[in-house]
Structure formats: structure tokens, C-alpha cells
Amino acid sequence: MNQIYLVSISAMGGIGIFFGVLLAYSSKKFAVEKDERIEKIEEILPGANCGACGHPGCTSYSEAIVNQAESIQLCTVGGAKTATKIGDIMGVLIDESLITKVACVKCQGGFNCLDSFEYKGVEDCHTASLMYRGQKSCKYGCLGLKSCMKICPFNAITMNQFGVAQIDIDRCNGCELCIRECPKGIIEMVPNDKSVHVICKNKETAKTVKPKCKVGCIGCKLCERVCEQKAIEVKDNLAKINYNLCTGCNACVIKCPVKAINTKTE
């Protein structure tokens, strides 16, 4: 019986040495530089593969950071936290002022806004906008055909009771995909920490807006006057908020006759 120990130990020892030698040799002979940082960065990235960074996916972004010195602040989903962590690995300092932004659909039209015709066909905003820019009489009006909702990787977009896209700011990761998707160009990034927004992009005069839409900005300048911070300016018939000055006092929200300024805190 003792023999079996001997044989097996020597056999295994032999096999072990053999492959040890082989592997040692080949790992020397065929050694390929591999950067461990790539893997580490990949672990930090959210892994949503949303493409907001402009690379096909998180893996290729991490490769680009290491190999092509790509900027480390491109992942909007991960935001500042991710960028800091990547900075630690790469030994780069990041711009601390990176504020998180979320998307905001700047339209409240929907059923409040007249249709020029009845659209039938594929439920897609691009498709509809190919024909007379879509069925809404307002050329800045949300078509409500859910293109942005379908593209959002984080399910942050829903259609509200007026048939207008609405963004759940808790879910929005600021990837900006919806902004690229919307054929009407009515989704914009707004600071996450501000709640008062002009929810309209119509630059036409009151005369044109009024008959078409109940909630479109008519450029009446009441908000401009009521704002104590001088945070609102009406330009091209459209109110615009300077977020650096806005304190969220809601004065304009109360004053606006068409309720084109609104809070999105919910």
C-alpha cells in the first residue's frame, strides 16, 4: 500500500513540475502587457452600457481612458462620484464643480394644445415629425408618441395625464439620450437642485400661441417683473430662468397667467 503513496506523489509532483515549467515558460515567452487599470475602471463604471460617454459601452470607455487618455468625466450616469474614483486610479484630479443635471421636458401642451390633423401610423415621434413636423399645431409641442420614453435606459420617462412626456428626476441619470432622441428638441438638461422651470419653448407671439395652446408661454413679462432676484428674462417671447440666481421662491409660478412656469419637485 505504501507504494501507492510514492507513485502518486511522484506522478503528481512530476505533472506539477511539468506544467509549472510549461506555464512559467509560456507566461514569459508570450507575455502581453495588460493594464490592470482597465479592469478596475470597468468595475467602477455603472455597467449600464448606455453609450452616453460616446463609446460603445462601459468596457470600451474604460479602455479608452487608459489607452487613449480619454477624459474621465464623460460618464454622466455615474456622475461626479464615479469620475472621482476613476481619477484616483488614473491619478488625475477632476473638476469638482461638476453638478449633476437631469432632463426636463419643456412642454406642457399635449391635450392642452390643438392638433392640426389626426395622425395615424407608427407610434414614434420621429416618424410623425416627418409629416408636417407632427400633428401638433405648435411646432415646439411634445408629440406624445413616447420616443424618449422608449429610449431611456433607466425608465425615467412616463407620459403624464396630458399626453406629454414627463421625467422622474429621481430616476433620471442624466445620460442625455432622450435629448438626442426627441425630434422636437424640447428636452433640456436642468440643474438637479432647482425646482422652478419654464416648461415651454414656444418663441412665437401671444397672438400665435393663444389660439393654439392654453399653457404656452406668451411672453407677457409678468414673471420678469415679479422676480425679486432678477432671475428671469423674457427673450424672443419666451421666459428664461437664470439658475444661478433663482432661489425657488415660486413667485413667478404663482404669477404666470398661463402656468407656463411650474415646479417639478414631485
Partner: protein, 439 residues
């Protein structure tokens, strides 16, 4: 002698419904008091406005100038005062439009004079005259004709095909032109033969229009340079690529122009318009429009001044049925649905069609059952269902793999689909998104 009937692979057989207007002679329509003339009635750069509000214009006067390599002149179709020049939503989108208050006098522009002898003109002179007259393709594509007649130098042209197929259901405007003024087409064809420096022109006509075939053949009996090519009645026989394949057995390579294989295709109405413009000197200010469909009380073929609002044209035919839900500029296969009666008739408006909702449009869309009928019908040999699948799933690159860009948007696939899938609409979306991506 039984003639060979030419055809191509794929295509469909819709109900033609041409009887509504087939035997109706072309009637002239009075121009209404307000004319809205868009400065884009063609493919390419918009014409440069030459008038402003308050100006007085005469009939045939140039009001928009050809601007760029691919563009075309626009002329006033009536005399009167310009009320405004402003962007208006037209069939082609938001375009700058000259609004003229018609004074009813039809005062001709003084510069207009007929040409006595075309033979004396050089090729370039003829092309310039065609350019001046603002002639664009009237078969639907509205490509400026003078550009077409000036193909790239390396392309050796040997064949002209005059497109008299008129394969779109309902439409009869080309047909009426061929039947009523066949000499215009033949004479125009002879001019073009000279311009292109070639020996042979074919006039392609579908075999459901024997009268037109006879009318033309009578004139060209002893003319070696011209021949009627009888085509099988099938949509889209009039499509440029299909026509070339049927007549010459050549195929236009993907992404190339017909001239690269030595062919030029020009619509029969366009040829007639060229002939008329050269002889009378009057630029293109009117065209034949077939006004038809069950929604129209009194279907007709009308000679309409460009810029006439569709509302006026329809009134000439007894007005619109009250339950008509859909109005189309052009034929039912390729025409563009209108959302208002205020759009104007332009150089490309071959027909105005009013259909009832319940008529043809089926709403019970269901899932694709992979019957492959769309593939069999596609005259370009594409796989429409695969393209649709790709675009629907948001993978435009997949659609590219299936050559979406080769689609001629004929609509055969959507027509034939038993599941009533809006295939062509998906394709258009995909193409649009692709273009967006490229920019």
C-alpha cells in the same frame, strides 16, 4: 403581330380606378383671386425670391431665381400685386411662398416670345431655355430637368426613355396629355434626342392605355429614332429603375444615377411641357392635375395654374364629400396626405385624390407573419420585413445591413402586407434617423 410586353421583377397589381377620369378631357381652370406660389416646387435649393410685398408682377414673370447647381426658376402664374413673401407650411414643408392677388387680366410678361425654329439652336441654348422656363420633372420627383439633361461628362448617354407609364392608380394626367397632344410629346422627344446627341428614344406606355399607344405610334410611324415600348401593367412600372430594366434590361447600380448606364428617363408630361415652353416661350406656370377619388363629386382632369390652392381646384369639381377624411396630393401609392385644403398645386402635383377613410385603409394592424409577400413585391429585391424589424427595434445599422438606402419608397411592401404593417413608414423613419446620425 403580337408585341413583346416588357416588365420587371416584383411589383403589385392594385385596383387602378382610372375609369373615373380616363375619358374626361382636360379642362382649363380659372385662376382664383389669391395665388400662393411656393418657391420650392422642386428637389434642391429653394429659389431666390426676386419680388417683395407691394410689387406688381405679370404672368410668366420670374419671381424666384434658380439658386445653385440643383435648383429651378419659379414664375408668376398670374398677373397682379404681391401681397407677401413669407414662409408657409406647404406639402413640401415650411417654405417661402409668394402670395399674389390676381388682377384677372393675365397680362403677359413682355420678355416672353415663342421660338420659330428650334433646329437653329445649339444644345446649350436649348438647355438654357429649358432652365429658364423652370421645367422640373413632373412625374413626381420634381428633379430639375436641365440638370438631368447635363449628365456628368464620363457618362455616355445612348438611350432616352420617355416615361408614359403612369402606373399610379387613379391618375390620368399623363394619359390625357398623350391622347390629346401626342405631337407635343413626340416633338419634345425629338428635341431631347438632339440635346442628348443620341439615336434612340423609347416611349414607355403600359398596356392598359391602348389609346395612348395608338395616338403616339401614328405620329412616329416612319421615325426610326422613336419607338413605343409597351409595358406590362404593373406598379411601379413607371419607377425609373424599373422602367430602365424593362426597356433596356440594364440595372442602375446601387447608389448610382441612370446616366451611369447611359439612360435618361423623363416623364411624358415633362416632355410635353418642354415642347410647349420652347414653342410658346411661356415658362412652366400650369400643369394637368387629375382630381379624382370617391370623395370628389365630379372627377376631372384639369389644367391648373401653379399656386392655385387645392381648395379652389376641388371646388371646380363640385367640392369634397362631407365625410371625406383624407386628401392626397399625388396618387394613392406615393402621394402625400394633406392636412389642409390651403396648400397649393405645384409642379409636382399630378393628382388630387380624395378617399373615404373606410375605402381602402385598414386599421387592423397585426404582427408580421413572415409571409414574405413584401419581399416578393419589392421591385428592388429588398427584405422589407427585415428592414422594418431592425428599425422597429431601434437598430438602424441592422436596417443598413439590409440595404435600406436602396429603397425607392414605392410602397409595394406596405400595400401587399396582409398584416397591414406600415412597413414603408418604418423605412422612412429609419432613413431619416440615419441621415440625422450622419450629420
Amino acid at each position: 403581330m403580337k408585341r413583346k410586353v416588357l416588365s420587371f421583377k416584383g411589383g403589385i397589381h392594385p385596383t387602378y380606378n382610372k375609369e373615373l377620369t380616363k375619358e374626361k378631357e382636360i379642362e382649363k381652370v380659372e385662376a382664383p383671386s389669391i395665388m400662393e406660389i411656393p418657391l420650392v416646387q422642386h428637389i434642391g435649393a429653394p429659389a431666390q425670391p426676386l419680388v417683395k410685398a407691394g410689387d406688381f408682377v405679370k404672368m410668366g414673370q420670374l419671381i424666384g431665381a434658380c439658386a445653385g447647381a440643383v435648383s429651378a426658376n419659379v414664375h408668376a402664374s398670374v398677373s397682379g400685386e404681391v401681397l407677401s413673401v413669407e414662409p408657409k407650411m406647404q406639402t413640401a414643408g415650411m417654405v417661402s411662398t409668394v402670395v399674389i392677388e390676381n388682377d384677372g387680366k393675365d397680362e403677359r410678361d413682355s420678355g416672353i416670345q415663342g421660338i420659330v425654329s428650334i433646329d437653329k439652336l445649339t444644345t446649350d441654348e436649348i438647355i438654357n431655355l429649358i432652365k429658364d422656363a423652370g421645367i422640373v420633372g413632373m412625374g413626381g420627383a420634381t428633379f430639375p430637368t436641365h440638370v438631368k439633361l447635363n449628365p456628368p461628362k464620363e457618362h455616355l448617354i445612348d438611350t432616352l426613355i420617355i416615361n408614359g407609364a403612369e402606373c399610379e392608380p387613379y391618375l390620368t394626367s399623363d394619359y390625357r396629355v398623350m391622347v390629346e397632344t401626342p405631337e407635343d410629346i413626340v416633338n419634345g422627344g425629338r428635341v431631347l434626342i438632339k440635346v442628348l446627341g443620341i439615336r434612340k428614344a423609347y416611349i414607355g406606355i403600359e398596356d392598359n392605355k391602348p389609346k395612348a399607344i395608338r395616338a403616339i405610334e401614328q405620329i412616329i410611324q416612319n421615325d426610326e429614332t422613336m419607338e413605343v415600348a409597351v409595358l406590362k401593367t404593373k406598379y411601379p412600372q413607371g419607377g425609373e429603375k424599373q422602367l430602365i430594366k424593362a426597356v433596356t434590361s440594364r440595372e442602375v447600380p446601387s447608389g448610382k444615377l441612370p446616366s451611369s448606364i447611359g439612360c435618361v428617363v423623363i416623364n411624358a408630361g415633362t416632355v410635353a411641357a418642354i415642347c410647349k415652353a420652347l414653342i410658346s416661350g411661356m415658362p412652366l406656370i400650369e400643369r394637368v392635375v387629375t382630381v379624382t377619388g370617391v370623395g370628389i363629386k365630379n372627377p376631372k382632369n384639369l389644367l391648373v395654374r401653379l399656386g392655385t390652392p387645392i381648395r379652389q381646384v376641388i371646388e371646380q369639381c363640385g367640392g369634397l364629400a362631407p365625410d371625406c377624411k383624407k386628401l392626397i396630393s399625388g396618387g394613392p401609392m406615393m402621394g402625400i396626405a394633406q392636412y389642409t385644403l390651403d396648400n397649393s398645386v405645384t409642379k409636382g402635383t399630378s393628382g388630387i385624390l380624395a378617399v373615404m377613410e373606410s375605402d381602402d385603409i385598414s386599421e387592423n394592424e397585426s404582427s408580421c407573419i413572415k409571409c414574405a409577400r413584401c419581399m416578393d413585391a419589392c421591385p428592388m429585391g429588398l427584405m422589407p420585413l427585415k428592414i422594418m424589424q431592425g428599425i422597429k427595434g431601434g437598430h438602424e445599422d441592422e436596417a443598413m445591413e439590409f440595404n435600406v438606402m436602396d429603397c425607392i419608397e414605392c410602397g409595394c411592401c406596405s400595400f401587399i402586407c396582409p398584416a397591414k404593417r406600415p412597413i414603408l413608414q418604418y423605412i422612412r423613419t429609419g432613413k431619416a434617423k440615419m441621415r440625422l446620425k450622419r450629420n
